[in-house]
């Protein structure tokens, strides 16, 4: 092959028609520049065993559409480990049964009680010796609002 000085170009569309030449008047097209880094190298050996980070919601709330929160004031349920300042997780989709802890509307008040429903007796019990049971009779306006499925509390650190 002869050595050709660079000053005189010989690679031109006219002399090399087999090469695909770019047109100088071709329309401009914009292409996005990849802005996300692609990592090269070893994939993490832990990737196959990765689980999702734990979420308290999944632990405390079974059915979020029917779940509501109620803070507690008072100590009548301490025997059930429910204390003043706790926030109760109440799920209205759970049918209330004997022995459930429930939020109830009684005579114009919002209460938290343990439900007693056995042998024809329907009552709301406290979990503290100082507090009497509320029996479902004539004259007592009684509505079981929802079942308490859990509770949570934050400390002020």
């Amino acid at each position: 092959m002869p050595i050709v000085p660079m000053s005189s170009p010989i690679f031109l569309p006219e002399t090399c028609p087999d090469i695909r030449w770019a047109r100088n008047d071709a329309p401009r097209r914009y292409r996005p520049l990849g802005l996300v880094k692609v990592s090269a190298g070893f994939p993490s050996p832990a990737a196959d065993y990765e689980d999702r980070r734990l979420d308290i919601n999944e632990y405390l709330i079974r059915n979020s559409v029917s779940t509501f929160f109620f803070p507690v004031e008072g100590n009548s349920m301490e025997g059930a480990e429910i204390f003043s300042g706790d926030i109760l997780v109440v799920d209205k989709s759970i049918p209330p049964k004997h022995d459930h802890i429930v939020v109830a509307f009684v005579n114009g008040e919002r209460l938290v009680k343990r439900l007693y429903h056995r042998n024809g007796r329907l009552a709301l019990l406290a979990e503290h010796p100082g507090y009497p049971a509320v029996e479902a009779n004539e004259g007592v306006e009684f509505l079981i609002w929802g079942v308490v499925v859990g509770k949570f509390k934050r400390f002020g650190c």
């Binding site: 029917s66 049918p95 509307f105």
Partner: protein, 426 residues
């Protein structure tokens, strides 16, 4: 064959209030509109006492007190959350659902016709009642217009136990039912149209169903013809599943007290722009123009009247709260005139375009745009987590004399950690 169900909540706002407040279980209550103006919702007891819908509160409050009727301000945070929950439960009963209003949804039941639809309707009622304490009625029919009527029947006639299914009616049963309902109850027939139809001899829904549809199209409108066909069981309306992105976003409110200074007006305008810009970003749009308007009270014709709207196009479409506020305040300074008692202000973001479709202007600074985008994203996240307006512009002010009057507002029982309903352990 298409089958639609219309599910709506009974006395929705009043029901939301009664759900959390143990002191009003049997009390007649009403819920008032913005600025505690008029009655927009009545509990069953209030309806029984004859409280009219839309009655101005100041007119009826004395009578209300003597009957033990309690009034509540509209608690939108509570109602919106409960509405979302109702919709979420309803979506378990059909893959296709249209949220028609805050308390009504259409369900597509065309895939469920092999079931006993009245029983299915009762399952819907039971689940919404058990899970959310919300009473609802269900109307089922082959068209949306008939489904709305079926819902009306279910609500008014206790024999139906809250569910009315017109698809299981024979032709003669259906005609009998429709003959007992007056034509004004039909979806889309307002007071004026009802009077016009009455003059034409169309008094009951049955009359309308039997009327000459093409004649009605000529004399009234093609919309009415479509209603007639729907009454005949032909579904002309489909479920609208996705709300189209808004073409303009408006935020405006009447003031609780008259406003006289440009500073106070600027506070309100700033607050409205913030809200509108949030909605703008949520639908991934940019605004190309901002309109601002102010007006005095048109119901006080003796007072000097002034109202003005001015639109300012922006150099570049944006969703940046600060840029939009700056533009809005410039317009406000331009249109403000002193010496007037302003009763309302508002802003409209127009000329919307999708986020990814802007044309870059000669003066654009892409790096600043990125920063602004990130700032807005952070702003939205914080406000979402800690409550609206946790972070707001200084121009929104803190005095807020013009804020909507809501003196009888119940707590946001389900959306604010500080306002949760307390239970007593006693």
């Amino acid at each position: 064959m298409p089958v639609f169900a219309l599910v709506d909540c009974n006395n929705f706002y009043a029901s939301c209030e009664k759900l959390f407040d143990p002191t009003i279980r049997d009390t007649p209550i009403v819920v008032l509109s913005n600025n505690d103006g008029c009655v927009v919702a009545r509990s069953a007891e209030s309806k029984a006492l004859g409280v009219p819908m839309g009655a101005p509160w100041f007119q009826i409050q004395e009578i209300a007190k003597t009957h033990g009727i309690r009034a509540f301000s509209s608690n939108y945070a509570l109602y919106a959350d409960m509405s979302n929950r109702v919709v979420e439960v309803l979506s378990q009963f059909s893959p296709n659902l249209e949220v028609y209003s805050i308390d009504e949804s259409f369900l597509d039941l065309s895939g469920f016709t092999h079931l006993d639809l009245v029983d299915y309707g009762q399952q819907i009622r039971k689940r919404v009642s058990d899970w959310l304490g919300m009473p609802v009625c269900v109307g089922i029919a082959p068209s949306k217009t008939l489904a709305k009527l079926a819902n009306h029947i279910a609500k008014k006639r206790s024999a139906y136990s809250g569910v009315c299914d017109l698809t299981r009616c024979s032709e003669s049963e259906l005609i009998q039912l429709l003959a007992e309902i007056e034509v004004g109850e039909v979806w889309g027939i307002g007071r004026q149209l009802k009077q016009r139809l009455n003059k034409m001899g169309i008094v009951t829904v049955r009359d309308l169903r039997d009327a000459d549809a093409s004649q009605l199209r000529q004399q009234i409108s093609v919309v009415l013809e479509r209603t007639v066909r729907e009454l005949r069981g032909v579904a002309c309306l489909e479920l609208e599943e996705v709300a189209p992105a808004k073409q303009q976003i408006m935020v405006s409110r009447s003031f609780g007290n008259y406003v006289y200074t440009v500073e106070a007006l600027a506070e309100s305008v700033s607050a409205y722009v913030s809200r509108a810009a949030e909605k703008l970003r949520r639908q991934h749009s940019l605004a190309g123009a901002v309109s601002v308007y102010v007006r005095t009270n048109p119901f006080k014709p003796k007072d000097p009247q002034y109202q003005r709207t001015v639109t300012m196009p922006l150099a570049e479409p944006t969703a940046d709260t600060m840029k939009l506020t700056h533009a809005a305040l410039q317009v406000l300074k331009y249109i403000f005139k002193s010496g007037y008692a302003y009763q309302k202000s508002g802003i409209i973001l127009t000329d919307l375009c999708p986020e990814n479709c802007r044309q870059v202007s000669l003066f654009a600074e892409p790096e600043k745009d990125n920063q602004s985008k990130q700032l807005m994203a952070t702003l939205d996240r914080i406000n979402q987590k800690f409550g609206r307006s946790t972070i707001r512009l200084l121009s929104e002010g803190s005095r807020k004399d013009w804020h909507m009057r809501r003196e009888k507002l119940s707590p946001s029982y389900t959306t604010n950690w500080a306002e949760l309903p307390v239970v007593k352990a006693r």
